[in-house]
Symmetry: C2
Subunit: 158 residues, 2 copies
DNA sequence: CCACAATAGTTGAACCTTCAACTATTTGGT
DNA sequence: ACCAAATAGTTGAAGGTTCAACTATTGTGG
């Protein structure tokens, strides 16, 4: 829920500092990572879809599974798929087992695209995130965001 | 720069864990915060613009200053401004000193909107971020993202 | 003072995302 | 077996964002 509208209860300066830093730096970071992929004509979202497919058995996945693991809506995936299909990276196949379903299948060309893009993106993550942080920073972040995530999940119950 | 395309150099499992946690949890967190503002007909981006204006002297700011501090492009701000103006939250005024310029001025109605939305958003930040984390977590995050940000800034030189 | 570069801001087109409605199929209860 | 509800996926429209081009004005070197 999170919206009680009563009792403001402001953030303390240090709380505010943590929050602002996180929000501002994150936005810049994500923008930079996306920009680094421009040369490959990929957005981070498309990149992630391709990575999921590349790791899946037979390099194919059901649309809904892909949407859930990639954290995108079904509708968005559907629209995006049309574009990626036109680019030749994936194609769609009917699913025999469940006739409502579709397989998203990665093409050889899609595989090549991801193989080419991966080192660039990895480098980008390293130089802008991982290598900037100490081992301790990394662990702290992993732990903190794990808490945030499980807190979010627990609130879904509403 | 960050794109050398040579030597893959994969992330270690713990590095990968930090990265994945951060990316996935962040996306969910931001989505949740945005959803919490739905009741006020505000996006986080619009909210931030209004907060900046509300804190500025005379509750007004030059368009370009607003764009920079709010981390949005000038074009986007311009488009958004048209919508917010229609909603009655802000209006635009010619700048006498620099005749190219425009002041974005918050209206009383805009002030009311932000006063009403602030506790909701604050509560949302608390319950989904601040209150989930220990003091130490918060400090670690502030520090880590400070590093990330200044690293990003230093690379702008290209 | 003039020419030229830089800055402020807007615009329209292209593209992307969301939202709600829709078809088709499967599942579960009776 | 049947029917209602749930699930898989797509679609079109509405709205948001980006990109490059544009106008208007200010700053600057000569």
């Amino acid at each position: 829920m999170a919206g009680k509208s009563t009792e403001p209860k402001w953030l303390s300066p240090s709380e505010m500092a943590a929050w602002r830093r996180y929000i501002v730096a994150s936005r810049r970071l994500l923008d930079a990572l996306d920009a680094d992929l421009d040369s490959e004509d990929l957005s981070m979202a498309d990149y992630e879809v391709l990575v999921l497919l590349s790791e899946a058995p037979d390099r194919r996945m059901r649309m809904s599974e892909l949407a859930e693991n990639g954290l995108v809506s079904r509708s968005r995936l559907s629209h995006r798929m049309k574009v990626m299909e036109k680019a030749g990276w994936v194609k769609r196949q009917n699913c025999e087992v469940d006739k409502r379903g579709q397989w998203a299948v990665m093409t050889p060309k899609g595989w090549q695209a991801i193989v080419k893009a991966a080192p660039i993106h990895l480098n980008s993550i390293r130089s802008r995130f991982i290598d900037v942080l100490s081992k301790g920073d990394q662990e702290a972040i992993a732990q903190a965001f794990k808490k945030i995530e499980s807190n979010l999940r627990s609130e879904v119950i509403e």
